[in-house]
């Protein structure tokens, strides 16, 4: 098997290397790729959309239909993970663990027994992840708001600098993941419950498609942001600029929610009780 694979791979390598001989040289400014479509984008993007970051302009306007499906792919992956892994189980684990917050001591309560009364000083913890690291926890607690603000900046400033909905969304999602890793999944879930999370991921896509639907309703082609001009009382270029912003927000919401949705399902194998 391994030898066969090796032969196959080498053959494939040979074929591709053979084909590569015909390619334009690396960095050739006169290659077809650099002379056919891209000059239009580079020269017209600002004129059309008032967005200096050409990548964002192309991504969210010229090829926004692509990007809509890119968001949909993420959403689909989130739904897929949910469908595959999620299960509601009502069986009790062999024992419950509680940490006494002031002292850090962990106590174990066997199955069938319960703690009597209210114990504000005891917090339930996961069996798989009993240790508690105050340094990590505190550092994360400080870091997470900054990460989230940065993420929002990335989303909003995507017109002018690298970044945009995806990157911002991923970072937002990562901040939630960080919360889940540094504390536990339960804490993160308290921040963003499961159904809220799922609804957000669908909502993100809906925002994107909704912008398109509005343009359709206004009688223009799907995702033609110029149609928004009349609605918002701005000229077409600014309308495009704003349209890009709207869809970027949608992308960010969808990606953020979906990343966390995937994480929570994978990390807890669908039970959503204990994370890493």
């Amino acid at each position: 098997m391994k030898k066969l694979a090796l032969i196959l791979v080498l053959l494939c390598w040979g074929f591709l290397a053979f084909a590569a001989a015909d390619f334009p040289r690396l960095g050739d400014p006169n290659s077809p790729a650099s002379t056919h479509l891209s000059p239009y984008f580079i020269e017209k993007a600002y004129e059309d959309t008032a967005t200096p970051n050409i990548v964002t302009a192309v991504l969210a306007d010229y090829r926004s239909y692509d990007t809509m499906f890119e968001t949909t792919v993420v959403f689909a992956a989130g739904v897929a993970c949910f469908l595959l892994l999620r299960f509601y189980h009502f069986s009790e684990p062999p024992s419950h663990l509680y940490r006494h917050k002031p002292s850090g001591t962990v106590i174990q309560v066997p199955r069938g027994y319960r703690l009597k009364g209210e114990h504000t000083e005891l917090e339930p913890i996961d069996r798989d992840w009993a240790p508690k690291d105050p340094i990590v926890e505190v550092a994360s607690r400080i870091l997470i708001p900054f990460i989230q603000i940065f993420a929002l900046y990335v989303v909003v400033h995507g017109h002018h600098s690298p970044g945009g909905g995806f990157q911002g969304g991923v970072i937002l999602g990562a901040s939630l993941v960080l919360l889940a890793i540094s504390r536990d999944l339960r804490t993160a879930q308290a921040t963003l419950g499961e159904s809220k999370n799922s609804i957000l991921s669908a909502l993100g896509v809906l925002i994107y498609v909704g912008v398109g639907a509005v343009t359709l309703a206004l009688g223009s082609n799907f995702l033609d942001y110029a149609a928004l001009a009349g609605l918002m009382g701005v000229d077409q270029v600014i309308a495009r600029n704003l349209g890009i912003l709207f869809v970027e927000v949608g992308v960010a919401v969808a990606v953020m929610a979906t990343m966390f949705l995937i994480y929570r399902n994978v990390a807890s194998a669908g039970a959503l009780d204990e994370g890493l």
């Binding site: 694979a5 080498l10 040289r25 400014p29 891209s38 000059p39 984008f41 990548v55 692509d66 689909a76």
Partner: protein
């Protein structure tokens, strides 16, 4: 000979991406561990991204974000296509990266599911269990 050398110098990126891709492909075919296969798959996908970015590269050009942008005079500067790297492959590859992570997520959840069912990630061991039942 000179011709060949210059070809290699101008095409080393292509050779590199082919090599990385084949590393991934080899892992998918030859490795028996499911997570290893998934890693191979991801390597394969990213190699293609490398290829696309190589297409977009342009000598003597800068990143595709317009300069002089914060001001009313921005539009008046003539924008020359030769000054900026081709943005289109970047756009495409943003999509491809996201697709790759989505695929990875689904693949990993499947791996978790397979592990729940068989208690192992090694293909031969799974095959043994299937044959036994």
């Amino acid at each position: 000979m000179d011709d060949l050398l210059s070809k290699i110098a101008g095409g080393y990126n292509y050779i590199a991406y082919i090599t990385i891709m084949m590393i991934g492909l080899y892992a998918v075919i030859a490795k028996r561990n499911l997570v290893k296969k998934i890693i191979g798959m991801s390597i394969f996908q990213t190699a293609i991204i490398l290829f696309y970015i190589s297409i977009g590269a342009k000598k003597g050009a800068t990143i595709p974000i317009l300069m002089h942008d914060h001001g009313p005079e921005a539009a008046e500067h003539a924008i020359k296509a030769a000054d900026y790297i081709n943005p289109l492959p970047h756009v495409l590859m943003l999509t491809a990266i996201v697709v790759a992570v989505a695929t990875l997520g689904v693949a990993l959840s499947l791996a978790v599911k397979v592990y729940q069912r068989y208690g192992t990630l090694e293909e031969p061991e799974i095959q043994d269990q299937i044959n036994k039942s």
